[in-house]
Symmetry: C2
């Protein structure tokens, strides 16, 4: 069988090397005679696995010492509630940058907890195909924090910059471009991300938070939602998602072997350029709605000029082992997600197919 | 190497057959060319895996049609908040049966959400070594529900009966004896359990809830904490812990191959009897504080008469590949957890060692 390339938006492709390690160690981790799934989270073996995962992530991202790294559960959607419950700190309200589907959901959930939720900037006017120019953002200096979504997985819109919010803490949903490029963590108050794109299996959420923001949780917040309690318990206030943490740890080692985030970024730039080039040179057979400076390196949405060909496109792609490229039900069309673990060969196979398909049906 | 037997209280031993299946399918689930970890939760393959897991669990436990089965995240500790947020329904308060560590934690968390939290019965008077006689329980007929912990993992106290609470809905934390014996689900309003004992990997929580209790969530409840929304989304309101659901599904098939819950229960009775017998016939070298009718079949706590031997006991056990038998830091002593997946041979190896150790040091 020729190799399968999986363009799922998440859960998504993982590095083959990592899957081989997981397979090899499945019944016996490092001579312990136990699967990682069977280990007490308080035992010597798993404590080592978790500590090493955190250490490696800190090294890869250059996370400063005054930031806590939390391994939680519930996905980004849980963070949509957890962030305001912890970070409102009795302040006036929250500022949001609205760049599409996921920003909107985060905003909607925040309204449950904050009296004032303001749209500091929005790209709704042009159908969420760009990132609003920072100069025009209306940031309230009294806001508890400003929230943005660094990569809109559905719309394929990615921030090419880290916003400057002055004294207002910056909060970022980095779920779908986490670890895809270097990032200066010291510019953020809090970063969160579900694992199931660039980190590991679904069921793990990573939160990186500046210590001084902790400890002012809203009354009535569930204990499990209190970052401070989670931080004090080293993310083991209760049993953490041990196996997902283990796999994430292996992915972190893989990132290091690739040369770290700079090298990863170079590969991601190359892969994305190849795919957008294929769209842009198709004489309109394929189109991408996103304005060029804001095109995501992770999720590449495109449409066929003739929608009637969508089904054939998906079917023929699938026959060539190019899987899960159907767009989200909200947007329609196609979406190829090309996270860190997607090899260049996968993108080549896809662009080759796209050219063949256009030739045949154009 | 002789086989390893892992007596961890959770995460805990899994059936070897299941681990072998997971290993075999790690890079290619059923010819899909993908690991289960890499599959979109909305794709055909994973939808099939999740539906089959639910179907099998329903068959094993005989779950009536008017109950929803939810695959959630966050462990039992998350349920300590989620249950009152959903089930208080504006009623007066909650009744608790206090049988030790986990009941107390559930009660403490409930106080965040309920004006009135009553202790309907407690075994604190004799150090949590028994289950209070049902005839003496003080149940408030207006209570929103009564909560109990069917097996206290730390104390090793297990309910030999299902309480009769009349019109008051019965809520059970079944984390540590879930799937260990047949249970009449129709007697419950809600059952919950973390997966990491008898079900699968940590990071999955199962909730079984009677439909008529849904839909009256407290204001300010995070969307992810709303059972009704989770039920309407088939536990896929956001990305579920896909891999953990897959492994749990394989465990359900394994339970069926063992002959279902009746057969599982017989094996559990046999294993527990053998271990308690070994304690009770040690002439006081080993003691178990729990009163006989309430001794857990899952978690067997015992102490050495001479505490100074604790360290040697753990060390020598470990040298014989009998792992993770150290008691919880709260209780001290030893604790051997013998969940479904612990083979009889493991219990034989442990009792054999205990007799040798007593002979040598007695």
């Amino acid at each position: 069988m020729s190799p399968v390339f999986n363009f799922s938006a998440g859960p998504a492709v993982l590095p083959r090397e990592v899957l081989l390690e997981v397979q090899k160690e499945m019944l016996d981790w490092h001579g312990s005679g136990m699967s990682v799934m069977e280990m007490s989270h308080r035992g010597r073996e798993f404590m080592h696995i978790a500590a090493e995962a955190e250490e490696d992530l800190r090294a890869i991202m250059g996370i400063p010492k005054n930031y806590k790294v939390l391994f939680l559960q519930g996905g980004a959607t849980t963070q949509f509630a957890m962030v305001p419950m912890n970070l409102l700190r009795g302040r006036g309200g929250i500022d949001f940058v609205d760049t599409g589907h996921w920003s909107k959901l985060a905003m909607k959930e925040a309204r449950k907890f904050a009296d004032t939720v303001r749209v500091a900037a929005s790209s709704e006017d042009r159908g969420y195909t760009y990132v609003p120019a920072e100069a025009n953002w209306q940031i309230d200096p009294k806001a508890a924090y400003l929230h943005y979504t660094s990569n809109e997985t559905l719309g394929g819109v990615e921030f090419p910059f880290v916003p400057n919010t002055g004294e207002v803490p910056l909060v970022c949903d980095m779920s779908s471009n986490f670890l895809s490029r270097p990032v200066d963590v010291s510019r953020f108050g809090l970063i969160y991300g579900g694992a199931q794109k660039n980190i590991g299996p679904a069921g793990l959420t990573i939160v990186i938070v500046r210590e001084d923001l902790l400890g002012q949780v809203a009354p009535g917040t569930p204990t499990m939602f209190d970052y401070k309690i989670q931080a004090e318990g080293d993310s083991m206030y209760n049993t953490p998602p041990t196996f997902a943490i283990y796999v994430a740890g292996l992915v972190f080692k893989w990132v290091q072997r690739q040369g770290g985030l700079k090298a990863i970024e170079q590969r991601n730039i190359e892969k994305a350029a190849m795919l957008y080039e294929s769209v842009d040179t198709s004489n309109g057979f394929y189109t991408c709605p996103v304005e060029k400076p804001f095109r995501s390196r992770m999720n590449v949405p495109f449409k066929l000029a003739d929608e009637n060909l969508d089904e054939s496109f998906i079917k023929e792609a699938s026959a060539r082992n190019l899987l899960q490229i159907k767009g989200h039900r909200v947007t329609g069309g196609m979406r190829a997600s090309i996270y860190n673990a997607m090899p260049l060969e996968g993108v080549k196979a896809l662009t080759g197919f796209m050219q063949d398909f256009a030739k045949h049906h154009g």
